[in-house]
Amino acid sequence: MTSKEPGTHGAVLEDTPPTQDRPLVELRGAGKSYGNIRALHGVDLTVHPGNVTCVLGDNGAGKSTLIKIISGLHQHTEGEFLVDGEPVRFSTPREALDKGIATVYQDLAVVPLMPVWRNFFLGSEMTKGPWPVRRLDIEKMKRTADEELRNMGIVLDDLEQPIGTLSGGQRQCVAIARAVYFGARVLILDEPTAALGVKQSGVVLKYIAAAREKGLGVIFITHNPHHAYMVGDHFSVLRLGTVELSASRSDVSLEELTNHMAGGAELASLKHELAQVRGVDVEELPEEGDLTAPVATSSEGKS
């Protein structure tokens, strides 16, 4: 059960030849409790190379807890977490990074007062020279950071400027460029478009698609079903810590996705109650039974 014991099933898995189809990251019935609060329960999730798995959910649905488990900030308390078919339990983000799992956090995990290039290489600095005089290879780091950022369409004249002086979109792209550069096999993006304007969101989505083309597995966490549907191959909607919907692109339409995201199921169950209240238009709310078919929600329904 726990990854700490190298049990028999670990040995069996080693014999399986690596296949293209084997998921990079897999959660089986994973969950997490903080004391007596169960933030996440029974979540199944697979991430394949060259695929974008979207995780959608409202505030408090457990999205953050989910990525914290995968990125190594927290440990799961139930179920299994497998990387390349091997059960794992990360105790630090460093271990996740070493397995090729890189996370771009909502707060971007940058140190505002540090220069752009130092931020780019923070935690994975390039060095040169033997141990007692091992030092940062500043020239190479600056050059590489500049190249990588130019590839992302960001041209900075001065890589020495504190990253806190860049705009939100620029910082986001620096963070993504950093993750892609460090050979991430799995890229976790925590609401990368939440704080961005329309155009900048487009840029970020473009890089998600580009990362997929490179064969990375992407976990894209978002509030926005439109953004998710543009790039996603598989969609998981979380609600109250459990998976409410898990469907591949061919099985779900944008309308359905939007509906689930907008709390369609909850609203449907509330429909009866809402109908008693004057001034609430419930005509267009879906019935609970309708939720597998494309249904539209009215924007007034959610307030």
Binding site: V110, R134, M152, I154, V155, K199, V203
Partner: protein
């Protein structure tokens, strides 16, 4: 079905081109501003101003031996101000640094005297004790998540009490016994408290150590991984941890570095005065912190340099001795310091706002 119509165009909107980002809206900051953004520039100008002032106001300062004395005074503060500054850049500060110096000196002195050991044994044990105190501070901080103010205030009070009580218990006095006739004393004195001559002027060895440590600290801070980590854990601990910086290791080792500094200064005091007063050291921790802050280190962490505190400590030494050479009442010293500290803080604040403005 109104939602469907709204949703469809959104799906078909092609992602905007990445080239839009490079629209030349970022421009190079002027070189003068970029220079000012360096943490040590303000204090450098301040140190020059203080030096020039006393060169005029106190003619004896112009003499080489006075300058050597001023540098010696600065070095005893400066050696400790370095690790304290690194720790501050790393986002923490250590109120126990002042009494830890005395703890270290007392340990070495009493251990060698009471057990009649070679003083080097005492020196080595004192180093271990000092590093252990630093490690304890760091460990408690990381473990509990309490602010360093509280954790080190605790160790400050503990050490202050332990210094007095154990010294009284062991020696029956408030000071330790003279160890100057013990084995290894001359050797150790050579390392920690000797004097050498340069062009007819007697210079204390601590001045050399001070500059060596400063050069080393600057190199580590700006040119190594560890230095990068110091800035990162002070600037944003959570982010640093998330990108794989060993935050716990960095914080604890920084506290141990302060322990090392305390040991070194403690050994200097022991081997220059042969005996240690157990009640000393209280208040020194604030002098070290002030030197680091005057040196351009941000009290909240993530910003600063190792060169800045060198000038900061020099300003201290200069003012302290300059007042004496000028023949003024030395009581003015602390008032001077206060003005300097406030001035430095205001300059730092202004510089940072101007230089990092978007």
């Amino acid at each position: 079905m109104s939602m469907t119509q709204q949703a469809t165009p959104a799906v078909e909107t092609p992602p905007a081109s990445g080239q839009k980002q490079s629209d030349g809206r970022t421009r190079q900051r002027p070189p003068a501003l970029r220079l000012l953004a360096r943490p040590e520039v303000g204090v450098f100008l301040g140190a020059v101003a203080v030096l020039v002032f006393f060169l005029f106001a106190a003619p004896p300062v112009r003499d080489g031996s006075s300058m050597a004395n001023i540098l010696y005074q600065s070095s005893t503060i400066g050696i400790m101000a370095l690790p304290v500054a690194l720790l501050m850049i790393g986002g923490e500060f250590d109120l126990s640094a002042g009494v830890a110096v005395i703890t270290s000196a007392l340990t070495a002195s009493m251990l060698s005297y009471q057990l009649t050991l070679n003083v080097w044994m005492g020196v080595i044990v004192a180093l271990i004790v000092s590093l252990a105190i630093g490690a304890f501070n760091g460990w408690l901080l990381v473990r509990t998540g309490l602010p360093s103010f509280l954790v080190t205030l605790g160790t400050f009070l503990i050490l202050q009490g332990v210094n007095l009580a154990i010294t009284k218990l062991v020696t029956g006095n408030v000071a330790t016994d003279d160890i100057s006739d013990m084995d290894g004393f001359t050797q150790a004195q050579k390392l920690f408290a000797s004097t050498f001559e340069v062009g007819g002027v007697n210079v204390k060895i601590t001045v050399v150590w001070w500059l060596v440590f400063a050069a080393l600290a600057t190199w580590v801070l700006l040119r190594t991984k560890y230095g990068n980590w110091i800035f990162a854990v002070g600037g944003n601990k959570e982010s640093a941890r998330a990108v794989g910086v060993p935050v716990t290791f960095t914080k604890i080792s920084l506290f141990m570095l302060v322990g090392f500094g305390a040991w070194f200064v403690g050994m200097h005091q022991l081997f220059s005065f042969n005996t240690v007063q157990s009640g000393e050291g209280v208040g020194q921790e604030l002098i070290y912190i002030a030197a680091a802050v005057i040196g351009g280190c941000l009290l909240t962490g993530g910003y600063g340099s190792a060169i800045g505190p060198v000038f900061g400590a020099f300003m201290f030494g200069m003012v302290q001795q300059g007042i004496v050479y000028a023949g003024w009442n030395p009581d003015w010293f602390k008032a001077f310091l206060g003005v300097m500290l406030l001035g430095a803080v205001l300059i730092n604040l202004w510089v940072q706002r101007t230089a990092t403005r978007r």
